[in-house]
Symmetry: C4
């Protein structure tokens, strides 16, 4: 279980990074991590303050949501995280926040258009917004349905090509290979959302970034011949 | 009087929390608490700086506004606080600020529409704005009339269902069971106001949050079967 | 000269307060003070960083701008300060910044409308913007002409009733009885400018604050029967 | 090589200044310096965090991009820096960031209009935006073509008269005599971009700053008879 212990520590630090990067107010956000070899997910307990958080505030659940150990109740958003982990087998970390600029797009019920290279460094696609939920979906399994609608929003694209989506009227979810990388995606998304909103104030009809530049930026960072960062 | 001493300490800390959360500039804000068993209200003295504030800068008044002890003049907004405490018997703390995003809605003389789940986590209703005061009301008892107009703005709803209202042209008032919880409501309101304004920049005609999602969020946090936070 | 020494110290601290309150970027701002008994003005040296500033970076000039002592060249805006001190005999401190929200109004060449009680706590009038300068005025004595245009912008009102004005296309100037109070006016103006701009995003045609509320707020803070703050 | 050692130290400190001034998120920005006597350019390694950066994370290249020493891969934007150094023989430092307000103008594909004296203190011209790149330019030498388009955007003006330009859809590049001065230009540009965007929210058709005031400000700071700062 050494890998699980490392994951708990990483999730704990990733949760504490959320307020440090200005992504959360009060307790509105959570990071989880998935240990694929154990089939377990570790996630922040519900309503716990980040500064005071220790490994004891991390709850361990299996991929069906059964609490395996941990002293508290897991985040209310846990079924959303689990739906994403079950659907996206390559991801190992998820972040959910109500970060302001991304949430503004979610509340406006609009995808974030791809307007610049900062966005293309994250994804070569707009950041999608999930469809409205039916009242029955909300009644029966709200958090699970939220996850299902986020998965639908990717329209079959690989989750590492579209590493974020907006839950309509709610806020962003981001995912990556690890919890630490998911926090980096959440930081990036928030800045991308801010840039797109400021841009739209200057020109509400601005054209998307040219396709050649878009693909160049995504590929130089994420493609097979990537040359951003150190080898 | 041990409970009153505890309340003084809590009100003192709650006032100091206002600048720490970016809710106030200079001395523009105040927190009060009500000890229902004693029938007394403790409130920040007028014009005192938060950082230097000690229990000696807290003024104690009865529910009619008579100063019981305390070295200073109470906040000029005291009659507004007292009107709210007399009308809303279940509340024990009130916060008033000129926090920027909420004040922008107050100055625009518009209620804050319910556009997302962050708002629904606070209230299942728009945040109302008080009616204009008549010139005679301003002349005779401005601060008391401000309180009366805030109470009217709730239109008979329970104050814990609508824990905030905007004084028209002025700024927000928030209330809760305790002064600490009222500060949390003020932090939440400011973020809700910011999200709503940013959303309106993307779509000035955006529809309110779907009713099913709105009620789900309010009830999972505040309803009889609430499952947010730790039991 | 004890009063002059005290003034130098106050001006030094007031200059250092500008970055602490987010009012300046790099070295774009200055505070001066006037010792009326000596007929001398003390002001920040030009281009000096605030953090490193000591009394040695304060320059002393007479009301005509002759340098009396001090090792450096006074702020380039000194002739503007002097014009204001000569015209407004009751003031003892002036602050000039390029603070972002107030400067946006100056660049838009619009007065700041009186939209809320935060503004009325500062002044019962809109914050005026100065008229365009003629090219000859710019050529002959730009900084002096800037001061003259600010004085004109008050349209004969007392400078303590309109404690700020915007130099068109440039930025705000604020004044008060003391340098410390002028910094407080500059902090207040910046927040008032921000609130007014955010309000205008929600409603670009919003009506000014009701006159009765406006006068009530100004008078309860600055009138003969003022009851804000401690007696 | 003492001058090269000093330059490495200066570039290292200039890179660390970027997050301190709020100009970068994560690792999205870089500062370089050029030692003209050696014909060498020192630049940040790609993808390195600013806080951890030491001289060991600085890469040295010649003006054709051959790595001379340094343990890492240089910033992916290095060919853009080199194109600028080859074309602008008087400059000794370059900064590239994705700072939010300047990047919003780049994404809106608009030059930053000259709306106030803060801008005129930096340049007497609008801040230009580069033309769209052809797909073949992107394929063949994207970063070099970005530099060529920035140079074209100056339309023959001297680079110290127009010390910044926006790479279309990407973000700002700024240059100056030294890396330290280039960081100061980047700080100024970001504030100028913010002021211009806020101004455009108040009046999207506002006229540029009067020519006489514009030239006065640029010349009093940068002209032959400059009188801003200390002699």
């Amino acid at each position: 279980m050494a890998s699980l212990d490392r994951l708990i520590k990483e999730v704990c630090e990733a949760n504490r990074a959320l307020p440090a990067h200005g992504l959360v107010t009060l307790t509105w956000g959570n990071v989880s991590g998935c240990d694929r070899s154990e089939g377990l997910v570790v996630i922040k307990a519900s309503g716990v303050a980040y500064e005071e958080m220790t490994a004891a505030d991390i709850v361990i659940v299996d991929l069906e949501g059964n609490v395996v150990n941990g002293g508290g109740r897991p985040s209310t958003d846990t079924p959303t995280h689990l739906a994403l982990y079950r659907a996206f087998e390559d991801i190992g970390g998820i972040v959910h926040t109500h970060s302001a600029w991304a949430t503004a797009w979610a509340q406006a019920e609009r995808e974030i258009p791809l307007l610049g290279t900062t966005h293309a460094d994250l994804s070569a696609h707009p950041i999608p917004v999930s469809r409205p939920l039916e009242p029955e979906e909300v009644d029966e399994d709200y958090e699970g349905a939220t996850g299902a609608a986020l998965i639908e929003a990717l329209a079959g694209r690989h989750p590492l090509e579209v590493p974020c989506a907006l839950a309509r009227g709610h806020g962003p979810f981001c995912w990556a290979l690890t919890p630490t990388a998911a926090v980096e995606a959440a930081i990036t998304l928030e800045e991308v959302a801010r840039l797109a909103l400021l841009t739209s104030l200057l020109d509400s009809q601005v054209a998307p970034l040219a396709a050649a530049v878009r693909d160049k930026h995504f590929m130089r960072k994420h493609g097979p011949g990537a040359y951003y960062g150190q080898p």
